[in-house]
């Protein structure tokens, strides 16, 4: 057998993460970030029920798509335009449990908004995470603008925009992608298609089965990926980033996911979807899926899993303890920052 043949066989048997050049350590860290995102999310629902956090909007079901995609980028160089389900992604870029809970409890020290916006309105200048508001889809155009700036400066950065499939219906999506394609901008448009925009199902949102089908209409590749599969998401995003850095232009990625919670703490999803549908989706959910992979690769056993869960829990409780004692924003802060203050 030739050496090439042996290499081929080894490659076929090679675990996916190795094929992607990821060490055991790296995938375990990615898994831990997914767990951290999930537990932080769950913790906020408890805070909500306790009357401590007025509003929760979840990332549950979006952990693999967020962590897998953001991990394929270069924090510190690349730019992120997140949306409200991007908790897993911002954790990869540098945000911490403390940041999340400071904002969840709208404390003055919250690094994204200092309590000025609802929870999950990410944006941290330290980590190149651009400030986000609540209007859906506007950030898609910002990502194109940020990518334009990167291209003009030639600094090698890639800008990624995250958004739901509902957001693709707005003109912002169309105009942002069109411009990015014309100017071959280093941008990635990352759609997390969870099948619903609040109550509105995909079929009322578009007449095509895949958001990704729209990529070619703008002159860019459209890629569908199983958003429950961390490594698959990592792979396609890394390809898109490489393409962007080569100057070949943007990519539209569609990660098929499922929203495991109601739209938000204000929503009652039983009005528009069957609980059985949610139960079904839970079987394929990204955490279970990744845990199984790691177990199959003998990278994780029960003891290690318990250790991760414990360390995550400890991290969250410490962050929460900090956040709970942190002061609320002073009323005197309310009128600041409408304009830049004189130095």
């Amino acid at each position: 057998m030739t050496t090439e043949g042996t290499a081929l066989i080894r490659a076929q048997h090679q675990p996916e993460h190795e094929r992607l050049g990821l060490s055991a350590d790296q995938v375990l860290r990615m898994y831990r970030t997914m767990v951290l995102a999930r537990r932080l999310d769950e913790r906020q629902w408890i805070l909500n029920r306790q009357g401590k956090q007025a509003f929760v909007i979840s990332c549950q079901g979006h952990e693999a798509s967020g962590v897998g995609s953001a991990s394929a980028l270069q924090p510190g160089l690349d730019l992120m335009c997140p949306y409200y389900r991007s908790l897993p992604a911002v954790l990869v870029f540098g945000s911490t449990a403390r940041d999340v809970l400071l904002e969840g409890l709208s404390r003055a020290e919250g690094p994204w908004t200092g309590g000025r916006q609802m929870p999950a309105h990410f944006g941290d200048v330290r980590y190149h995470i651009l400030t986000s508001g609540s209007p859906v889809a506007t950030q898609i155009v910002h990502a194109a603008g940020a990518a334009l700036a990167a291209k003009i400066r030639g600094d090698g950065a890639v800008a990624i925009a995250y958004f739901g499939e509902g957001a693709t219906s707005k003109g912002d999506f169309h105009e942002g992608l069109n411009f990015a394609a014309i100017h071959r901008l280093p941008a990635i448009f990352f759609c997390e298609n969870n099948g619903y925009a609040i109550s509105t199902p995909l079929g009322k949102q578009m007449a095509v089965p895949n958001v990704a089908d729209r990529g070619p209409a703008y002159g860019m590749p459209g890629v569908v990926v199983d958003g429950n599969d961390l490594l698959a998401v990592y792979r396609v995003t890394r390809q898109a980033a490489e393409r962007a850095r080569r100057g070949e232009g943007p990519t539209l990625i569609e990660a098929k996911v499922y929203r495991l919670t109601p739209h938000s703490s204000d929503d009652d999803d039983r009005r528009y979807r069957a609980p059985s549908e949610v139960e079904e989706a839970r079987k394929a959910e990204p955490l279970i899926r990744m845990r199984r992979y790691l177990e199959e690769q003998s990278l994780l056993d029960e003891r290690q899993e318990a250790a991760i869960q414990e360390s995550v829990a400890a991290e969250i409780e410490a962050a929460l303890a900090y956040a709970e004692q942190a002061p609320l924003p002073a009323p005197t802060e309310a009128r600041r920052h409408v304009f830049q203050e004189a130095a």
């Binding site: 309590g115 000025r116 609540s134 509902g166 219906s169 109550s199 924003p329 309310a334």
Partner: protein, 327 residues
Amino acid sequence: MAVMTLVEAVRNALDWEMERDESVIVLGEDVGLHGGVFRATDGLQKKYGPLRVIDTPLAELSIAGLAIGAAMNGMRPVAEIQFADYIHPAFDQIVNEAAKIRYRSNGTFGCPIVVRAPFGAGVHGGLYHSQSVEALFYHVPGLKIAIPSTPADARGMLLSAIRDPDPVLFFEHKRMYRRLKGEVPEGEYTVPLGKAEVKRPGTDLSLITYGSGVYLGLEAAERLEREDGVSVEVLDLRTLAPLDQEAIAATVRKTSKVLVFHEDNKTGGIGAEVAARIAEELFAYLDGPVMRLGAADSHIPYAASLEEAILPNTETVVQALRRLAAY
């Protein structure tokens, strides 16, 4: 008469009018199966079918634009914008199209649409679930703007709005959706657009307001009566465009001292126009400056401690009225 909340009155009006007039349709995000995030359209799709109660994609520009196109083809669409904060993507269709259709066609086309949206702060919604947007459209000729403050007005004014031959923006204060209950005449009951209403008669000071301002105003007026023996007349504008000039003139002539007040931030707000008109046209009747009160010129933050520092409240209204009374 039935007792209804504000949101029930809205739903009841939609139901009444869809039943009465086949050309009335409802469209917006989540308005069908879900019945709207505030339930203002609850049950309508079941009753009138998905052709007349339409779940749109997440795209406000087209919600307005579709309504306009359907209106030019014989329908009377009632478009829901999920939160007034998200009406801005539809600004061009409303301002450049709906508002100008009759004029630009020399009166040959009309655009009888209603755009409904929950608006207003005080629900810890932060920058994007708290906005008052009435002032952004107020300058535009060709648009009517209505803001009911009671369930009865909501029902009566919404029927008038749907039947109006021109575009009407209809803003419903979300904080009052369920808190407010009131008797509502059923059946054929309309409240005409363009007519203000004295919600509390008084003789010493005039408080001109609308929306949530009516409630803060009434509370403040009672306190002034009780604590200072000062009688405050509360005029609810109800329709902002066109303004009811006669009602404004009547109360100013009566009291000669006026506070114009709204929850919306002060600069460039509706109060600016009301105050400017009084200052120009009723100068001779004034015994003091035309005072204004509104939110701080700021966006509306989420944290309770911050939001309270931006919005007016009964106390700030009382203080303003006392300053006015002192003239």
